[in-house]
Assembly symmetry: C2
């Protein structure tokens, strides 16, 4: 098949754009952007250094700007908006879905928010204010108010005629919602049923009453799990009185899934998933300095422990040579258990009394690997330093550290979660502190006892 613009990989698009930029003319750049979807343009913008990003942003079609802004990460969005006139911002906001607009407006400076609100008609403004009243990471915050609703007491034929009159439906409409006269959710009529059932059938008979609406205060993560578990395309959202608020569509849920996964990956290195990879050096350095500072504190703590044993190191220098091995093996083991736990907690797989079995299993695994690698290292130390006592000391220290590592990898995320601290963010720092401190203490302490 011939390769079309649609079928190019992100990298190929980036190469093409680069060639066009290098040509120094904007016509080919504009032509490439024209052939791309807003989300693809957003990805490209994120991949460009600041000066080139500015050039390309200037060429993005005005009609695409709103969608593009929606798809770039928070930091890039803020920078792009800063360079826009209020009129352009209002124009960009005009075509967005209500739930997307709510996210967009959230990031605007206050004066701009008011201008955007004033530019809207009453119905839309009220819908926006409703969505904005929810926390962004709840079902309500993901809700789009643009839905097709019908009454239960009409026939499918009436619905068919109504839709033809309407002329269009909101994107990703797979189910039409059936509400009573107060706007309370009763059930859903899938387009499939509407198309395959007899037109003389009543909506009340054709509709699916088993379709469970989502509560508007359901956390976004739970919404994502519901979509995944039930293979949903869209789901109705209701408030505490079962009044239909709107619906959530799969495209927004995919974003939630992607964001959560990126958050876990990036947090473990102390990074923010909404960071611009081409952020100014000063801003980037400042953010990372915090993480390095925290790590320095933990490293100094470990150094203090080593410092306690200066006199034994002074006499048996081999201890200094070998101590990083003990600490490092503990860190690796511990982070395996930690990662397993962080994923398990994110998926809701840990709880309900399975924690004890899991701890037992992790401790057993650590014991086996602890003994195995302790023996290997003891053998190497024996050959290297010709000192059987030193071999025994490192073996015992390693076994102790492996068990502590498993215990920490298991316990830290549970404790952090109880304290409402993100385990993905803080887990690895706390873990390596423990495996370093325990590793050094066990090895050097035993060394001091036995070798002096």
């Amino acid at each position: 098949m011939a390769e079309t613009a649609e079928q190019q990989t992100a990298e190929q698009r980036l190469e093409r754009l680069r060639d066009a930029l290098d040509s120094g003319r904007l016509v080919p750049v504009r032509r490439i952007l024209k052939s791309l979807h807003p989300a693809e343009i957003a990805r490209l913008l994120e991949s460009l250094p600041h000066n080139e990003r500015k050039v390309v942003w200037g060429v993005v079609d005005v009609d695409d700007q709103g969608e593009v802004l929606l798809h770039v990460n928070d930091e890039v969005r803020a920078a792009l908006i800063q360079g826009m006139s209020p009129e352009d911002v209002i124009a960009a906001a005009r075509d967005l879905d209500i739930d997307d607009l709510a996210d967009f407006v959230d990031d605007l400076p206050e004066t701009l928010t008011e201008q955007v609100l004033r530019s809207m008609d009453l119905a839309n403004r009220q819908a926006l204010e409703k969505v904005m009243s929810y926390a962004p990471d709840t079902a309500g915050g993901l809700t789009n108010t643009d839905t097709v609703t019908i009454r239960p007491d009409v026939t499918l034929d009436v619905v068919l005629r109504y839709l033809r009159l309407r002329g269009s439906m909101p994107d990703h409409t797979d189910v039409i919602y059936v509400v009573d006269r107060y706007g309370r959710f009763i059930g859903g009529l899938s387009l499939e049923r509407l198309l395959t059932h007899d037109p003389s059938e009543r909506v009340a008979d054709a509709m699916d009453t088993e379709l469970e609406p989502l509560a508007d205060d359901l956390p976004a993560r739970e919404v994502a799990q519901q979509f995944e578990n039930r293979d949903l395309i869209s789901a109705p959202v209701v408030d505490a009185n079962r009044l239909l608020v709107g619906r959530i569509t799969i495209d927004d849920v995919v974003d939630v899934i992607r964001d959560e996964a990126e958050h876990n990956l990036m947090s473990m290195a102390g990074l923010d998933e909404e960071e611009d990879i081409f952020a100014p050096v000063a801003a980037s350095a400042k953010r990372r300095a915090v993480w390095l500072g925290i790590n320095l504190l933990t490293a100094l703590l470990a150094a203090q422990v080593v410092g306690l044993f200066e006199s034994v190191i002074d006499q048996v220098v081999a201890l200094a040579v070998l101590m990083p091995v003990v600490a490092s093996m503990g860190g690796i083991s511990g982070s395996q258990t930690l990662t397993l736990m962080i994923r398990g907690l994110a998926l809701g797989q840990i709880g309900g009394g399975n924690t004890q079995s899991l701890l037992k299993k992790e401790l057993a695994v650590a014991a086996i690997n602890g003994v195995l690698w302790a023996l290997v290292v003891a053998g190497i130390v024996l050959l290297w330093f010709r000192n059987p006592t030193l071999g025994a000391v490192i073996a015992i220290a390693m076994i102790i550290n492996q068990l502590f590592a498993a215990l920490s990898g298991f316990g830290i995320p549970l404790i952090l979660r109880k304290l409402n601290i993100d385990p993905a963010l803080a887990g690895s720092v706390v873990l390596t502190t423990i495996t370093d401190v325990v590793g050094f203490f066990a090895f050097l302490g035993l060394g001091a006892l036995v070798l002096l």
Copy 2:
């Protein structure tokens, strides 16, 4: 709103199941399973230790077994299938979609595969063999052959009558595909247009000819990006001759996205995302032993470097106390750059000549933080050991190591990818080896030069 079974979190379901299991009777267990979707049952099974998993699996409704098997991870699936009779396996396979069946059959022992194939009718068997001829991680491997196709020269009214005759449509049908008489893809007719356009209109006039089909050899990761970028629910898949092979639906794409994200997270700790968290201790220990063994080699390499400087440590024990600080700060910095690169590569954000700007930025950030924290540490060392030369040595070593860390975090994933090695899997091992070796070498080597 009252909490229904649907609205429970995964953890709450686990708790409920635990209570039911503890009651010792199977009736409540069966009742809970009845109220859940197969994917939810799958998640629960994964969360149970082996003996309980066996009990619960025995109670899962036969009609749900196929879908449940599909949703558990590879290792759990293999174990469950091992305990089933061939008849049960065939029954479980019966209701699956063709693309799901292809995955399922892939994991069966060969004799069972043949039995399943023999139990199918000719048309389905041919469809299955077609899908199985594709690699699982390509568009073809994700393709479901169950599609509704129409010809361009009929009116919408004819299509409406055809659908009513058909009586149902495959799950997640949002677009009906228009093919010519040879089965070549021409365009798509969305249910929305079918419902809102005049029934006397011809399909050829109402259809969307801009709908780009996906090539059957497109990598799964690219498929996921297309779905995300274009907010798709389903997409047609064609072969090299533009013949319609089938379609890919968003539910399978969400699985791809989830798997890829989990793969990145788990790989960085040397874990496999398809691993059973309650895998037998021996199997688990064996798998992790490999990772620990690789790490031991790198730790011993670092120890060798320290060993080169035994004589200087013997005379300045403070070097032994401080050397973990230098190595650890390098490791942290490097893993930040590494994580940024691994995500960037996964998203296709790196390439097209932006690598140089990125390297410059990362080096600049490393230089700033290197100098900053080098000065802080030098100050602390001065207070602690009252030795200005030692302070200068650690400061210079830290700056050198920070720059090497940024360079490695940047270069390692690019090199690994060129070598076709997964950067997420091997990156952090290689990185910490470098930051340890460089850190120890710079610090102890400078120490030997200046302090002896």
